[in-house]
């Protein structure tokens, strides 16, 4: 069926107008739901219909173009269909180009992965549009590698941009990669640096995955960048984006693949060689029927009852342990190993002896390095440190907190100090943690408490527990009496754990600047203070701690690192839960009001989702406080 071009033009532009108006009114779904499938069918093989379709979208006035394009991109079942429907619209129309290459990719981030695939696939299908694809990739990479974007944009947006980058990479041809190899390399280097600097593990992983993918693309032979990280669903999804069914079948290699060396059964070098798996089933010998009767019977065995397993005995006295661990004799590694393994139980069994040498032992443990390869060395050392700290809290806490701010310790050691303080505080304040908690061999057992990604769930549970414990206290009778005497252990030392840590945070040392580069340690410090505050409930020092903590939080409230801000908000939660209500209202009213307005700000404007959640929680806790106050007859 032929159309007269003249007549065709008029009617089409009218339809475009209608389409545009409907879309901008928000009815994209309804109209495009009918239009797009129909057009898809019609344009499948008929190029006249294709051209009609192109004219249709081209004639949509600019002010409605965005809505129409958005609708098409979201509705189209695939990049090739989108290509048939839109044609070279992005090249011809400035507004369309802006929407597709800038707005949908850089300014919005709510679209699904399919939409991204459609969009970028569409750009890649025609050579005229491929220049746009390259430009898009460059801009995406610029954003990805800019420090301020990594620091201030929300995690969801960063995920979106990473996905877009990976999809672009998957569409690029060899020649195109060649031409922009240098820029890819530069952006990758810059970008991976900012991502690894971040305190949030999700952002670090994003950076690692994207950097690995870029490296894979630009170095097809030769060593490729590989990071070690644990894969989760998000990462797997990201990696799958790098594979496109047409020409590229590059599958990114997983980092943990190299450990299969042992399994590899080497092939027999001559085909008829047969190999049996190691040491499994013995082939049954038929020696009984041998002619030579066991002249072995002539050989009478000697008594072998003394033959037992060789055990290296660990020292039984604490001072011996100190000698072995501090001694520089590299010979007796077996004894060293046995000592490390036995130390915790020795410390717990001999509290009096430990108290005599506690600071020395703490010093040795803080500096103890792995001499031989023991399994779970880090955990063993940490448990020993916790044991020493709980046996003699005050001097050892004094030592550890002073070392936290001293020169020449590594970040790892400083964070270890914080972990040990937290674990010991938990043990002191709550006896059911003592000895029975099975740290599951994870390197940082208390990360679960500090860094749960659903920290709000944790706190809700803790809040609930606290409320429950408050109401049940009078019901449980005798068993409760036993529990009530325990917080005293932490009572006398809470201050010693807390105040030294909070004192010097603003004094930079040459190798350690909490307010500067070492914001990761600052984040951990803040979380530690939150936990110590929480555990200090019912102690004498809790009010003083609360005041000091409020001041500390106030000073740092605008910190740029979202992990630090999350910690500050947890501090406020702990404070509200631990300090008795009367004391809060008596001593901290003005500060609390200021805090409340700050929390409101955070709730509205903070880019990080977790921060907003925590702020909301704190506001709710404050509301609860107020209600409780109003409930108490004064």
């Amino acid at each position: 069926v032929c159309f007269i071009p003249g007549g065709l033009d008029c009617s089409i532009s009218f339809v475009s107008h209608v389409l545009g108006k409907v879309c901008v009114q928000g009815r994209q779904k309804e109209i495009l739901g009918v239009l797009v499938p129909r057009l898809t069918d019609l344009t499948k093989s008929d190029c006249i219909w294709q051209r009609i379709c192109w004219r249709l979208v081209e004639c949509v006035p600019d002010r409605w173009m965005e809505a129409v394009i958005l609708g098409f991109v979201q509705r189209a079942p695939g990049a090739d269909v989108l290509s048939r429907l839109l044609g070279n619209l992005v090249v011809k129309n400035k507004k369309a180009q802006f929407v597709v290459t800038q707005k949908m990719l850089l300014l919005q981030y709510g679209h699904t992965t399919e939409v991204l695939q459609n969009l970028l696939g569409y750009l890649s299908l025609e050579s005229l549009r491929r220049t746009l694809l390259l430009r898009v990739l460059q801009e995406l990479l610029e954003t990805w590698s800019s420090i301020s974007a990594v620091k201030h944009s929300p995690a969801e947006q960063q995920l979106y941009i990473s996905k877009a980058i990976l999809i672009c990479l998957s569409h690029l041809k060899e020649s195109e990669i060649e031409s922009c190899r240098q820029e890819l390399l530069t952006s990758m280097m810059e970008g991976v640096k900012c991502h690894l600097d971040s305190s949030l593990p999700q952002l670090r992983h994003l950076g690692m995955v994207v950097a690995e993918s870029i490296s894979l693309k630009i170095n097809t032979e030769g060593p490729v960048l590989k990071f070690e990280y644990e894969e989760d669903d998000e990462i797997r999804e990201l990696k799958s984006l790098l594979v496109q069914t047409p020409p590229f079948c590059v599958v990114p290699s997983l980092p943990d693949d190299d450990r299969s060396e042992k399994a590899g059964a080497a092939l027999p070098l001559v085909p008829e060689g047969n190999e049996k798996p190691h040491t499994a089933a013995p082939v049954m010998p038929d020696e009984e029927s041998d002619a030579e009767l066991d002249s072995d019977d002539d050989l009478i065995p000697y008594d072998m009852s003394e033959d037992k397993e060789l055990k290296i005995r660990a020292p039984v006295y604490i001072r011996d342990c100190i000698e072995v661990l501090a001694g520089s004799r590299s010979e007796d590694v077996d004894k060293w190993e046995a000592t490390v393994k036995a130390l915790e139980s020795l410390v717990r069994k001999n509290p009096a002896a430990t108290r005599e040498v506690s600071v020395e032992l703490a010093k040795i443990l803080l500096h103890l390095e792995e001499k031989t390869c023991i399994e779970g060395f880090v955990e063993l050392r940490q448990r020993a440190q916790v044991a020493v700290l709980t046996t003699d809290p005050i001097p050892v806490a004094k030592y550890l907190t002073s070392q936290f701010y001293s020169l020449n310790y590594s970040l790892r050691q400083r964070m270890d100090i914080l972990d040990v303080l937290v674990l010991a505080a938990q043990e002191l304040s709550c006896p059911k943690f003592h000895g029975k908690t099975k740290h599951s061999g994870a390197q940082k057992p208390c990360i679960q408490l500090l860094r749960g990604s659903d920290s709000s769930k944790d706190w809700r549970r803790i809040v609930d527990e606290r409320i429950k414990s408050k109401t049940q206290r009078f019901d449980m009778g005798q068993s409760r009496v036993e529990l009530a005497s325990h917080p005293n252990k932490f009572n006398s030392v809470a201050g010693h754990f807390f105040f030294p840590l909070i004192q010097h945070f603003d004094r930079p040392l040459t190798t350690f600047d909490l307010l500067g580069e070492d914001h990761l340690v600052l984040g951990r410090l803040v979380h530690t203070l939150a936990i110590l505050m929480y555990l200090a409930v019912n102690t004498v020092a809790v009010t003083a701690m609360g005041k000091a903590l409020l001041e500390f939080v106030w000073a740092l409230r605008f910190h740029t690192d979202s992990y630090v801000r999350q910690g500050l908000l947890s501090c406020i939660s702990s404070l509200l839960l631990s300090v008795p209500t009367e004391r809060i209202l008596a001593d901290m009213t003005e500060e609390l009001l200021e805090t409340q307005s700050w929390l409101g700000d955070v709730l509205e404007k903070d880019p990080d989702g977790d921060c907003r959640r925590l702020a909301l929680q704190n506001l709710l806790l404050m509301e609860n406080l107020k209600k409780k106050l109003e409930a108490i007859p004064s």
């Binding site: 080497a266 040491t279 065995p301």
Partner: protein, 328 residues
Amino acid sequence: MALPPPDPQFVLRGTSAAVHTLHFSCGGPEPDIPLLFSGSENGFIHVWNLKTHRVDTALDGHGRKSVCYVETMGGKDRLLSQGRDQRICLWDLAEGRTSVTDSVFTEHVGFCRCSLLKVAQGRWLMAMAARSLEEVQILELPSKTSVCTLKPEVGAKLGMPMCLKLWQLNCGSQPMLLAGYEDGSVVLWNVSMGKALSQLICHQEPVMSLDFDSEKAKGISGSSEKVLSIWSLNEQQNLQVYKTHELINAGISDITIRPDKKILATAGWDHRIRIFGWKKLKPLAVLDYHTATIHCVSFSDHGNPRERLLAAGSKDQRISVWSIYAQT
């Protein structure tokens, strides 16, 4: 009631360094003194007089680097020693001389002991680990000409050769090599053709030592784990696992079968020597004398069976000499 294990007949002290290798030379006719050669970590080779229990001579030829292997070549006048200075030295010890007549530069920095096999009068084959990681080189001595280099297949990933044993069924048949590798497998090589005939994965950990009985076509290997593996060679020259034996403590440094093929001794990391019957691997004795890991065990080659001895060298710098099951 089983008797308690015997004590050592005597103990040789004086090496002042860990003992890594031992070799007896007692087969000579009567006026000859029975000797024991020992190689130590300080680079010295001590020649012990087994009548006086004292050191007759001390040979210094490896630049104070540890000596990992000694063996005599046809009598006590010619000695071969391998050290961790990457050299294999041939000594002339006749008439009181102590000179190195020749040396081979192996370029091997590992711990693999070489293996000697006499193929004809005055001619030996020696297998040694070469410079390249997985290769074994066969040289003819004393001419030092290379016979062949045994290279595993590309991608076989055997690791370093850990222990070697050259053997031939009888004089005139083809020499073969059994090599234990780092990945726990034992490979049988045909030296003349330079090809591997069979491979067997015996252990999960590197093979530390092996020994082979060519008459019964049975061999035994020990590793750093708790298992001894006994394997056999069938008519098609294929290795098969015959039996395994679980030990109480992990780690075997050395295994040796007595020349009469009746018993074998293992040197353990748990400071103990274990004696087994070779026929069925029946545990016979556990000799507990040393206070540190035992590096080597060796049976003597006495002509008179009653005089046969077993020697063990240990990290505790002592050599214990035992007379055990000498009556059979």
